[in-house]
Amino acid sequence: MATPNDRKYSKSHEWVKLDGNTATIGISDHAQDSLGDITFVELPEVGKELKKGSEFGVVESVKAASDLYAPVSGKVVEVNDKLGSEPEIINSDPYEGGWLMKVEVSSADEANELMDAQAYDSFAEQE
């Protein structure tokens, strides 16, 4: 799966897509592929304030349970409720249907510090 160019990527394998002040956040194709079949996602409550780098949830797969880290700071405005019953969407469609949450960012600059698609691809390859 090609890594989309319309967003930024963190070293902990989350992606961020900015639309004005709203950032949609998910995990990369590389991340879902490494985790294997995802069976459960724990997401934060709407309204929660997140700091860049803080834990905001957990993804559980048949192989592992991994923490999710906020790639940007901000307030959670929406979470993807569909994942409650169909967490496997993250495996099949990590960049669109498998989004995790939307955050009202406190500073757009934070997102710019993250990697672009090309940089992330080579980062993921080396890992």
Binding site: F40, E42, V58, E60, A65, D67
Partner: protein
Amino acid sequence: MNYISNTKEQQKQMLEACGVGSIEELFADIPQDLQPKSFDLPAARSEFDVFRHMESLANRNYAHLVSFLGGGFYDHYIPAAVDALASRSEFYTAYTPYQPELSQGTLQAFYEYQTDICRLTGMDASNASLYDGGTALHEACQMALSITGRNRIVIDGGVSPIYRKMIYTYAANLNIDFAEVPVSHGQSDRDAVFGAIDESTAAVVLQNPNFFGVIDDHSDIAAKCKELGILTIQSVNPIAMSVIKTPGETGIDITTGEGQPLGNPLSFGGPYLGFMAARRKHVRKMPGRIVGRTVDQEGRDAFVLTLQAREQHIRREKATSNICTNQALCALRAHIFLSLMGTGGLTELAKLCLAKTEFLKQRLSSIKSVEVMNSSPTFNEFTVRLPIDAGEVVSRLIDRGFAAGFPLGRYYPGMQNYMLVAVTEKRTKCEMGTYAENLEDVLWP
């Protein structure tokens, strides 16, 4: 496993590696009164000598007393089949399997045990058991703190004082704000409970029947808490569940209890059995092992340990709890006991306990200056007020062959003359009669 001894020199090296100067320093965190007086063991003795020594120690127990002692642990009959089946080596040897799925029989027994607990309590999901009723209640508090992200726990005064002490001991180094609400006439004081809860409260902890044996309907407390996003935790007596309103029907979020009454003997504090069940939505925050049923690659029924990402061997420091086993043999005994009793048998047992308790209440209230407290219904147990110190009455009745009851002054200041009296199906009319006569004789010689 072989005993591997070490030399003085090796001990010195190990202590150095730990950065302490002496063995005493190594154990410095253990309170002084709990530390052994000496690490020097006496010289070796023959098997027969040791046997005789242990026998003389065992004979110091008053195991022959006719028991009216309860306080959370009860003298119920244990059918012989419980011992016979639970001590089969297939269960006994593989009781805590490290490659669990190899022991399908053990997992099936736990799965069935979990089903028992869910049916008894009316809850959605049970774990495969915890150490005992008190630690289970502590785990439930931790669960509520983690689910709500809040910091305050309100505990009803009807919760066993032994459990409360255990909760505080476990939480001694955690920054948790506990509040206790005294009971009113032996029951949960609604106004006081509602006055004690606020937006920082994670849970209200209740017990039914409570420590005084009083049966309550906590539905109103559960409903009010639900409005405020506060969880309700209820510790229950498993045998009473067959005749009184269950936590499921009451609207409780997490239920726990002591499983000893289900086929486990009274033995100086354990091993006992903690059970826990919760609403489905809280299952991922539940501590301990959970057995699930699935199918293998050929479509046959198979049992597995499930939701293991909660557990510390997967999630390390982020585990829901540091419990990494279950009370396997005690849970197995509970399951065998319940299977033998069946729904009808268990209900009959509970009704027998209720009826005999009422009989003894009436008999004791006929004794001069003995007052049976609480007009509300009780299960298994009730409180009496005596004209003299209850501890004194208990020690005098031991000489006459009775464990008379639980002196409440031990945990409730000002209740020196009060005693909890427990009655199970094992107590005959004749035993209750002689008990009452002896009590009367001790009070009014």
